[in-house]
């Protein structure tokens, strides 16, 4: 789907109710859906409109014929829930250097959504991170939530964009890195990701200090970056800053 299409999906920011309706109905593109999910976290009006549409349309779920899942699905869910319990116990036992353990993050990228959600939950609720680390962001692909990059910010002067795997960039295209805090009027470019597979160190001393919930995203742009002062291409990875101090 083209980026023009995506932008149209999420273009009219004032039509909260229309956007919420199409989100619940399911007709938005992957990018449109991710944008709504991100906006819902900071926009109570959108959250409320989505909730109201969920309630209006929910009786329609009765139109789907019931279908018995295979008998081993519950065992699989149970095993995953057990795994979650163990992981949080290990965290509580004082594992402090998970932060710098890229093997863990790479495993996460392979493990997919369930483990990613687990780690995020752990990060938010119970981790004692190394004292120097203030914020972290996991950038996930909007369509399947698989983590692709981790951002570490150890000071207000620099942040590191760490790839968890390789990402295929089409010819004549490049990834551009953006950030926007809730109160900013527009996104700010943090530069282009030219070297694949390497940690990118980005000075941020000209930016205001990082904020909780600050948005970061990587979009697919023309080779020399977006011609405008905002993203023009589709979002490839997106995430928000979580304070871990």
């Amino acid at each position: 789907m083209s980026s023009a299409e995506d932008n149209k999906d999420i273009g009219d920011v004032n039509d909260i109710d229309g956007l919420a309706g199409e989100y619940v109905l399911g007709t938005l593109s992957a990018t449109g859906r991710a944008a709504v999910e991100v906006r819902m976290r900071s926009e109570p009006a959108l959250r409320e409109a989505v909730r109201a549409w969920e309630a209006r349309l929910q009786p329609l779920t009765a139109l789907a014929e019931p279908s018995e899942p295979s008998p081993w699905l519950w065992r699989r869910i149970e095993r995953s829930v057990d795994g979650l319990g163990k992981a949080s116990k290990a965290q509580a036992a004082g594992v402090a250097d998970w932060w710098n353990n890229l093997k863990l993050w790479r495993g996460l990228a392979a493990g997919g959504f369930a483990t990613a959600a687990l780690l995020l939950a752990v990060v938010v609720t119970r981790v004692a991170a190394p004292p120097a680390t203030q914020y972290m962001v996991v950038l996930v692909a909007p369509e399947n939530k698989s983590p692709g990059w981790v951002i570490q910010a150890n000071s207000s002067r620099q942040l590191n964009l760490v790839p968890l795997g390789t990402f295929e960039v089409p010819p004549q295209k490049t990834l551009q890195f953006w950030t926007k805090a809730d109160q900013w009027r527009g996104p700010v470019s943090l530069g282009l990701v030219k070297q694949q597979g390497q940690t990118l160190r980005i000075p941020i001393d000209k930016l205001p200090p990082l904020e909780p919930n600050q948005l970061f995203e990587l979009t697919l742009e023309p080779e020399n970056g977006s011609p405008l002062d905002r993203p023009t291409g589709p979002i490839q990875f997106i995430g928000r800053a979580v304070k871990v101090m």
Binding site: M1, E5, D17, G18, G21, E22, V24, L25, G26, T27, L28, S29, A30, R33, R51, E54, A55, R56, L57, Q58, P59, L60, T61, A62, L63, A64, E65, P66, S67, E68, P69, S70, L73, W74, R76, I77, E78, S80, V81, L84, F113, A114, A117, L118, A121, E143, N144, K145
Partner: protein
């Protein structure tokens, strides 16, 4: 909801009570059984983890669980696997009324049931074509393009039908 207290038995009871209905919802959207089971798996993990932040004051727990499953299924199909591309320019020049008339002759693929409550009355009040667009989207997880293909109707028309249909539903249901 009991699993808000981290109660594993409650999660299992929820699974035993709802999984065949949830599986039905996921199957209609993702179409394939293994993918539908992946959706249920991820949704139940998500339910287990998010139950703490779940607020019963905002609605029924059962409805929330269905939303989690639907959105997990929709996120899965929107990653491009099932998308069709249509020439959007060709879609715009359309006679809306002619399309509606042609559609009315083709018959009605969804049988509405009386147990939909108020929604039934409001859906019945819609033009059949607009109603079916909404049902194809909600029940089958169809994108605008897929609905246009199924109904042999231009994309622009389908988008307009859905917008008007949703506005009418909103007015009818409050």
């Amino acid at each position: 909801m009991a699993c808000a207290r981290g109660d594993r038995t409650a999660l299992q009871q929820l699974y035993q009570r709802e999984s065949r209905y949830l599986m039905g919802v996921a199957m209609r959207i993702v179409r394939q059984r293994p993918q539908a089971e992946d959706v249920l798996h991820d949704a139940f993990i998500s339910i287990w983890q998010r139950a703490e932040s779940f607020n019963p004051a905002l609605g029924e727990g059962r409805g929330w669980v269905y939303s989690v499953v639907r959105h997990a299924a929709l996120n899965m199909v929107r990653n491009g696997a099932r998308q069709v591309s249509l020439d959007e320019d060709a879609a715009v020049a359309v006679d809306d009324q002619a399309s509606l008339a042609a559609y009315a002759e083709a018959g009605d693929p969804f049988e509405l049931r009386a147990d939909l409550g108020r929604l039934h009355g409001c859906l019945s009040g819609l033009e059949p074509a607009r109603r079916d667009c909404i049902l194809y989207a909600y029940v089958e997880g169809c994108s605008h393009g897929e609905i246009a293909e199924r109904l042999q109707t231009p994309l622009g028309t389908v988008k307009a039908w859905i917008q008007r249909g949703m506005r009418a539903l909103r007015e009818c249901m409050g």
